[in-house]
């Protein structure tokens, strides 16, 4: 017994030490990169990377059979104090708890608080650091002084002079009793008087107000823009108002409350609900807002209402407020007010815009179907947007709905609007803010460049497209920017090329190679506020990734089916990256884990090199055929240099000098066939099974060429190998090898091809469809790919001619629609 007592503790000690050692090892171990050897399992399934499926989110990527989400309805009355740029409002919120959980408090987002000088976004701003939004600065170092731009000074002064952020006047329950609330940065916790059980609802009200920020000074997603030069004394403003009322943070099955502080980059996700909103503004303002106008009789003139009904079936947009009327309107102000009443059903947010400067056009989109047969597309813009906006904005909205619905579902809302204000591009349900303006010339006309036109079309498509992702397919941009920006930019790239394929929209795989080859990247799967280089990371790279999936890896039919399935499964629901990854595989039957791993979880790039091609020839085993071939091969080799030089010098060998001494070996070489060889061939043939003999005979008869190609994966990303094989007879063939060839060795692979033709050359990825970074090692035999400098120097006129043609096309595009031929010529010449 004493012995036993003596031993036990030390065993326990030993075990615990062992565990701690193992634990350390486990932390370092990686299922993809092994602890021994250099094998990398680039095809490992995403098992550990994805969350465990449950009854809310199925392993198939679909919503689970007990999927739930909350519902929040709002009634808001707001008053715009134009002179003071001040907004005051009160909202009533109905919160329905559909979760299985009991809630003791609610979290709301107070996005306006990001503008407070004590906000986390402001305090955590790394002076001169990376990733900051808004006017930039430069910190000093030993070589240079620190710099503050005038923009930054303006921002600092503006924040010092203005009280920004919310004033919360009251938070009361339905009985008018004050509720306890705690403000935490851009968030507010409201404590419930009673726990809110599953299935119960809670109604409460908030009175709040804030000073509207000057967008140009602060760089925000909303605010006012001042036009000091307008004829009206003191000028005019355009107000674009968003992220403006305390909004319920989402409560989710995957994260609980989505109460992560708003730092400015990661946008938001919210709950779906119904809105009734009353907006009281100066009587001469025109208001654009999420939803449908409910009291047109009170705020619009009979003429405007008549024009609106004409617009429903018009072929081209109809002016509800013409340019002349808007110009007249902006010359004076009004001390009266009007209240515009809007309603919106099943939206996840509400935004609006208001100004006396607005020109307003509209055109009905006959979508047909049962969901929303008619949609009113509308644009609101000041004279500073003309003549560009009236021509393209509303048409671009309708084009967006047509293209996006083909890839997803019918547009479910009654309106889709594009508003020109101070914001470069931002999306909210049914309403978007878009920035392009035209340039005032000396002669009083306004013109725009091709670049500005392209910007208008692409930004309207992009922002209207956000209605689908994430306003309806409700992904969480606070966590994953790519889930809406990447998907949306991808469909935008389809829609822009369907608008005009002759224009270079810059969305091809080749356009991302410079970024993907660079060092110091973050993977696409990085939380929004932590992404370095958000543009290429969350917009451009995912766009190219989906493009490659669709055109190269899955094919259009499988991709489109799966993508549409994803969109419909998660329409008005809340998907996570895992749901997307799973659905795309589930619906297409294509294993894509390697693709997600490479493109979304790593910073590898694509660079496949064709290192070597060699030819094999089948041995017949017949010595009368094989030996002469071997002799031929031997004779084809260059002879001995020594022997050659000796012959040149006339040095004669002993054998030559003594021809009388000869034997058998002087007349027969190593390749002489003997009967012994022939007998052994006969017994070889007799030893074969019938099927073996048939295979051999056929192969000998066909006498094909066998080529082995050796590839190495320089970039690290495993991808399909697309080959163009050129043959001596002038013909060529494409061979598409699936990425799975890399599954056992992601560094080097070989491929055998059998052809009756003689192979002359091979090119990897001839169409530049895989974003392969180094094209030179794609050719065998190697081909010199001149650098841009080399090719420029060899034909310096190429640049000049390109420039002149672009100039021609610019001129055409400015004036009218006859530009297509010129653009066409430009594209061809630039090839």
């Amino acid at each position: 017994m004493p012995n036993a007592f003596h031993f036990r503790p030390s065993i326990a000690l030993a075990v615990s030490m062992l565990i701690s050692v193992l634990g350390t090892t486990c932390v370092l171990a990686d299922t993809v990169k092994q602890t021994k050897g250099s094998f990398e399992d680039k095809f490992r399934q995403l098992d550990e990377a994805l969350p465990t499926p449950n009854t809310w989110r199925a392993a198939s990527g679909a919503p689970g059979h007990e999927y739930w989400q909350q519902e929040v309805d709002y009634q808001i009355s707001a008053t715009l104090d134009e002179a003071n740029r001040h907004l005051s409002a009160q909202e009533f919120i109905s919160y329905r708890n559909n979760s299985p959980d009991t809630l003791r408090y609610l979290w709301l987002q107070l996005d306006q608080n990001i503008f407070r000088s004590d906000s986390m976004a402001e305090l955590s701003d790394d002076f001169g650091g990376l990733g900051r939004r808004g006017p930039a600065v430069q910190a000093g170092d030993s070589n240079s002084p620190a710099r503050l731009s005038l923009n930054e000074l303006r921002r600092q002064q503006y924040m010092a002079d203005n009280e920004l952020g919310y004033v919360i006047h009251s938070v009361r329950d339905g009985a008018g009793e004050d509720l306890n609330f705690t403000i935490v940065g851009t968030l507010m916790r409201v404590d419930l008087p009673e726990p809110l059980r599953s299935g119960q609802s809670f109604r409460f009200g908030i009175e709040f107000s804030f000073n509207i920020v000057e967008e140009d000074a602060i760089s925000a997603r909303s605010g006012y823009e001042h036009f000091p030069d307008d004829e009206r004394e003191g000028g005019n403003d355009i107000f674009v108002i968003a992220q403006w009322f305390p909004r319920l943070a989402a409560y989710t099955d995957y994260e609980g409350w989505t109460n992560k502080e708003f730092l400015g980059r990661g946008e938001f996700t919210l709950e779906f609900g119904d809105y009734e909103v009353e907006l009281t503004v100066p009587a001469d303002h025109i208001v654009s807002a999420t939803g449908e106008l409910e009291n047109a009789n009170q705020v619009l003139t009979p003429t405007q209402r008549e024009r609106l009904s004409q617009a429903e079936t018009a072929d081209r947009p109809v002016f509800i407020v013409t340019a002349e009327e808007a110009l007249e309107n902006e010359k004076e102000g009004s001390t009266e007010t009007k209240t515009w009443r809007f309603e919106a059903e099943n939206v996840r947010d509400f935004a609006w815009a208001s100004s006396r400067k607005f020109i307003w056009d509209a055109k009905g989109y006959q979508q047909e179907g049962n969901v929303q047969p008619e949609v009113m597309a509308m644009s609101f813009y000041p004279k500073e947007g003309e003549p560009l906006w009236s021509k393209y904005s509303t048409e671009a909205i309708i084009h967006t709905l047509e293209v996006y619905s083909r890839f997803s579902f019918d547009y479910p809302y009654p309106t889709a609007q594009s508003v020109n204000g101070p914001v470069g591009g931002m999306e909210y349900p049914m309403i978007t803010f878009n920035g392009p303006r035209t340039t005032l010339q000396d002669d009083g006309t306004r013109t725009y460049s091709l670049g500005v036109k392209q910007f208008l079309i692409s930004v309207v498509i992009h922002e209207i497209g956000h209605n689908y992702y994430p306003m309806i397919v409700n992904s969480d941009e606070r966590q994953w920017t790519w889930m809406d920006e990447g998907l949306n930019s991808f469909i935008e790239a389809i829609a822009t090329r369907e608008w005009d394929p002759e224009v270079d929209w810059g969305v091809e795989p080749r356009d991302i190679t410079g970024y993907m080859a660079s060092q110091n990247q973050t993977p696409i799967m990085t939380q929004s506020d932590s992404v370095a280089r958000l543009g290429p990371n969350a917009y451009a790279k995912p766009t190219v990734a989906f493009d490659i999936l669709r055109e190269t890896i899955m094919g259009r039919e499988l991709f489109d089916f799966a993508f549409k399935e994803y969109s419909n499964l998660w329409r008005f629901k809340r998907p996570t990256p895992a749901d997307f990854f799973r659905t795309m595989e589930e619906a297409s039957g294509v294993d894509l884990d390697w693709f997600w791993r490479g493109w979304f979880y790593s910073t590898d790039h694509v660079d496949i090199s064709l290192d070597r091609v060699y030819q094999l020839r089948l041995d017949t085993e017949n010595p009368d055929i094989d030996y002469p071939r071997l002799r031929e091969a031997e004779e084809a080799k260059p002879g001995s240099l020594f022997v050659q030089r000796n012959e040149e010098e006339g040095i004669r060998s002993w054998v030559e000098l003594n021809p009388d001494v000869r034997d058998f070996y002087d007349d027969n070489d190593y390749f002489t066939v003997t009967n012994k060889d022939r007998n052994s061939y006969q017994s070889y043939l007799e030893g074969l099974d019938d099927w073996e003999r048939e295979v051999l005979e056929r192969a000998l008869e066909e006498d094909s060429n066998y080529y082995v190609m050796e590839f190495s994966n320089v970039g690290g990303l495993v991808m399909p190998i697309i080959l163009e094989l050129s043959f001596a007879d002038g013909s060529s063939e494409q061979l598409r090898i699936p990425a799975e060839i890399w599954r056992r060795n992601a560094k080097e692979v070989r491929k055998l091809i059998v052809s009756d033709k003689q192979l002359v050359s091979v090119v990897v990825d001839p169409m530049w469809e895989t974003a392969d970074v180094d094209v030179e090692n794609n050719h065998y035999p190697r081909r010199i790919i001149p650098s841009r400098v080399e090719s420029f120097k060899s034909s310096p006129r190429g640049g000049l001619s390109g420039r002149d043609l672009m100039y021609d096309s610019t001129i055409e595009l400015k004036s009218d629609e006859e530009d297509s031929e010129d653009t066409d010529a430009t594209e061809e010449d630039e090839q």
Binding site: A136, D216, G425, Q454, W505, G506, D511, Y515, S787
Partner: protein, 170 residues
Amino acid sequence: MRVTARAAMPLILLAALLFSINTQAHQQKAGLSHVLFNPRTGNIEVMHRFYIHDAEHAVRQIFDPKADILASAETAEQFAQYVQERFSLLDTDGSPLKLGYVGQEQDSGFIWVYQETPIPQSLSGLSVVNNILRDVWEQQSNLVNIERSGTIQSLDFSANVQWLSVSFDE
């Protein structure tokens, strides 16, 4: 919304921008420079790529509110001159390499500016100063990929970065 810094894609991006900036927020404000040690030519070749849309707005700020880089070859050359003035390569002693001007051209939504210089006899590293367009917009970020013997090293010029260096393993 649209985002401001786009390194690689042009117009989709091009458009991009946004709001962090202001009404002209649709530019990319992102340059990409490729510094290639080209053994074929024995030169260090520098290839600067800018979105035409960025350049279009930049020349109006730098030179003349009416400047049109698409329409005027002179403006394009002027822009190329500006690019050269704001980019330099230095050896490890801090002596600048004299970069010769090769030319500029427009291609598929981008404007390219080319420079070159003979590869020095011995070079154990390189320092880079890239202030192109950063005096115009402080949001400008410039990515420099230095490719030598098949290896790329990247330098990111944004925010307060003044100059950055790479060293070469022999």
